[in-house]
């Protein structure tokens, strides 16, 4: 038994925006009455051209123009919004623009489709780009960790995979449009985030003044050198260390890398870039790409891999890899979904109803009273009826005063049993109970209508945030 669903990926970046539509094939490979549904195929049906993100004169995103652009792409692809079952809109790049972008996206998502949602956060970008570039898939075939560096206009987003699973994610203020120049070679923009590095290198780069090609190349070389030292676990200077966004990398050498993102289009064997290349888009992207090629192609310590996608890695990650399927035995009510941007509360004290209640009270207090929340847990440790009944009673008591859906996601395969107990003991409560879903505190989740007995879930994760 197979079923196909249409998924959308929309990437609104600092520099460029893109849309892709992909078809996900869900198949039930079980021969018993417990279904075993998996995504068996992901096919990208339509890739939009790479558009410059429409900006107003003040530098903020032009929401109306963006909306028109997207609707035109839907029309071009022949896709109607009601056909879209899942997917993600993500806002990428420099964080200064994100607030405005978020407002723009909120306006457009009504036209984009019901289950298409806004997500953000540099780590999530890293993860999606890593999936889209093929680093996760590649890591399933080799016995080493594989890292993807997605180098965009504003940021470089890194995800590390081992055996197909995410090991680490981080982001850096390294990008192709952190310095921009006009046709007369004058500097029109320098990102404040790289000023300490510019000072460290002693460059004379100033806003409004004529840039020297050698200096731009020196900056690009340094970007590449920093990434190589990050791979080799070699020390960074304080000014370089400050390029990490939020938190740095975990310990460990990275011995195989691939590069995606707009800048990666220039990471290939080509003649030495000059002013012509810089002026094509008025930024240092081609120089950064050439520098990465020079640094990484000429050394044996870090193996350079070919990505499956370069500039489209993130959007394909968002469209094809953001959605996960729950386990096949769950407690679901399709009338209650879609649910989007539900904050996750993770509970640990599962064995003792009183402790559970207290833990929930403390963690729940962070969110407003009427807010729908999702309760995440590992699952019962022993798995006896008594233990699960205690857990059900604890959850019911903890949430007794709430009118929202009792929404539980867990890792272990107990969702249907727990759901049944919650319904049995909780009388009138609306219950959704899903398993094989791992969610951390601080994550947000989206839940769509069930497909072939399982439930599509997007976990918008902020893992590895220190």
């Amino acid at each position: 038994m197979a079923q196909e669903i249409l998924s959308a990926g929309i990437d609104i970046g600092t520099t460029t925006s893109q849309v892709i539509f992909s078809r996900l094939r869900l198949e039930n490979n079980s021969y018993t009455a417990i279904p075993d549904v998996k995504i068996t195929q992901k096919e990208v049906l339509y890739k939009s051209p790479v558009h410059f993100t429409p900006l107003r004169d003040d530098g903020n995103i032009d929401a109306k123009a963006l909306d028109r652009l997207l609707l035109a792409e839907y029309a071009q692809a022949g896709v109607k919004r009601e056909d879209i079952v899942t997917g993600a809109v993500i806002i990428t790049g420099e964080s200064s623009r994100k607030q405005n972008a978020r407002l723009a996206v909120d306006k457009l998502s009504a036209a984009a489709g019901d289950f298409v949602v806004a997500a953000a956060g540099p780590d999530l970008e890293s993860v999606l780009a890593g999936y889209g570039a093929g680093a996760a898939d590649y890591s399933e075939r080799v016995p080493i960790a594989v890292a993807n560096f997605d180098i965009g206009g504003g940021t470089t987003n890194v995800a590390v995979f081992l055996g197909g699973e995410l090991q680490d994610a981080f982001a850096l203020d390294i990008g192709g449009r952190l310095v921009r120049v006009a046709p007369d070679h004058r500097v029109t923009y320098i990102s404040p985030r790289i000023q300490p590095l510019v000072a460290l290198l002693g460059l004379s780069l100033r806003l409004g003044e004529v840039a020297r090609l050698a200096e731009l190349k020196e900056l690009a070389d340094r970007f590449a050198g920093i990434c190589r030292r990050i791979c080799l676990d070699e020390p960074l200077s304080p000014a370089e260390q400050r390029l990490f966004i939020g938190h740095s990398k975990r310990q460990g050498r990275l011995s195989a890398v691939m590069f995606s993102g707009g800048v990666a289009e220039y990471i290939r064997e080509e003649a030495e870039p000059g002013w012509d290349d810089v002026l094509r888009y008025g930024d240092i992207g081609p120089l950064v790409g050439a520098a990465f090629w020079q640094v990484f192609s000429a050394q044996p310590e870090v193996k350079l891999l070919n990505p499956r996608e370069r500039i489209r890695a993130t959007v394909i990650g968002a469209g094809s890899y953001a959605v996960r399927l729950s386990g096949s035995t769950v407690m679901m009510n399709d009338e209650l979904v879609p649910l989007t941007n539900i904050p996750v509360i993770r509970l640990e004290h599962l064995a003792c109803p009183e402790a559970l209640r207290e833990e929930y009270r403390v963690k729940r207090a962070v969110y407003p009273a009427g807010q729908q929340v999702a309760i995440a847990l590992t699952g019962p440790t022993g798995g006896s009826y008594e233990e699960l009944a205690k857990l059900a009673d604890g959850l019911l008591a903890a949430t007794a005063k709430e009118a929202q859906i009792l929404l539980v996601v867990m890792e272990q395969d107990y969702a249907k049993a727990l759901g049944l107990m919650l319904k049995h003991r909780g009388a009138a409560r609306q219950v959704i109970s899903l398993d094989r879903i791992h969610a951390q505190p601080g994550d947000y989740i989206d839940i769509g209508k069930s497909v072939a007995g399982t439930v599509p879930v997007v976990v918008k994760t902020l893992i590895f945030k220190s």
């Binding site: 009455a33 417990i34 279904p35 699973e165 009826y385 395969d413 107990y414 249907k416």
Partner: protein
Amino acid sequence: MNATDGFVRDISLPEVKERVLIEHPQSLAMIKRLKKTTNARLGVGRAGDRYKTETLLKFRADHAIAQDAVWTDIDETLIDEMGFYKVQTLVQNKEEYVRRPDRGRIFSDETMEAIKRDCIHNPDVQLVIADGLSGFAINANLKDIYVIMMDGFKEKGYRVGTPIFVRYSRVATMDKISEALGAKVTIQLIGERPGLATGESMSVYMAYEASSKKPESQRTVVSNIYRQGIPPLEAGAQVVYLTEVLMREKKSGVELKI
């Protein structure tokens, strides 16, 4: 096999199989990940061109568990505690059970009469508990799966018949019992033929108006029920759901598209 604390490790425990025995693996994390995907004995290393002693002993221990599961008569303490109605097929002992599958499918006329005399007629749901090829499986899973099923049936308002335990039973006894009592949905819990992964795996066979005149394909099955497979509680919840489907659709097995 002596550990430093002076105790001999129990080689029959499932976690013994989680150990990676390859010396100096290039990536221990990768082998561990591979091992999580299967019950097969991966990453066990070798001594020359043979198994290591630990692997060989574990293999024999697992085989012994399977042998024991088949040849040990079920301990009926739990069945008695739960107050199930008890009957036996034509089979008289384990040896005959293994040699004569045909006799494990039928009852004597006296037994059939007793069932008709003592048990509830025309139930919505009839439970049959069968030792099958592993009594261990029944004792390991029965309690948890039973209570959650009963919760579910009670909530749905189903009329549940007298639970019947059948000694030396094959799957087809559920047809005979269903016919005798006029049950709508008959659910049989039966110990699976043990393999080298576990001796505690149980299956649930379900059929709507189960009958010996219908083919084997009348049955819907949930298998692989044990702690490390499909947990008995989760399987029970799925059985409750499937019972609803069978009651609504008035069919089961391959006729049912789920």
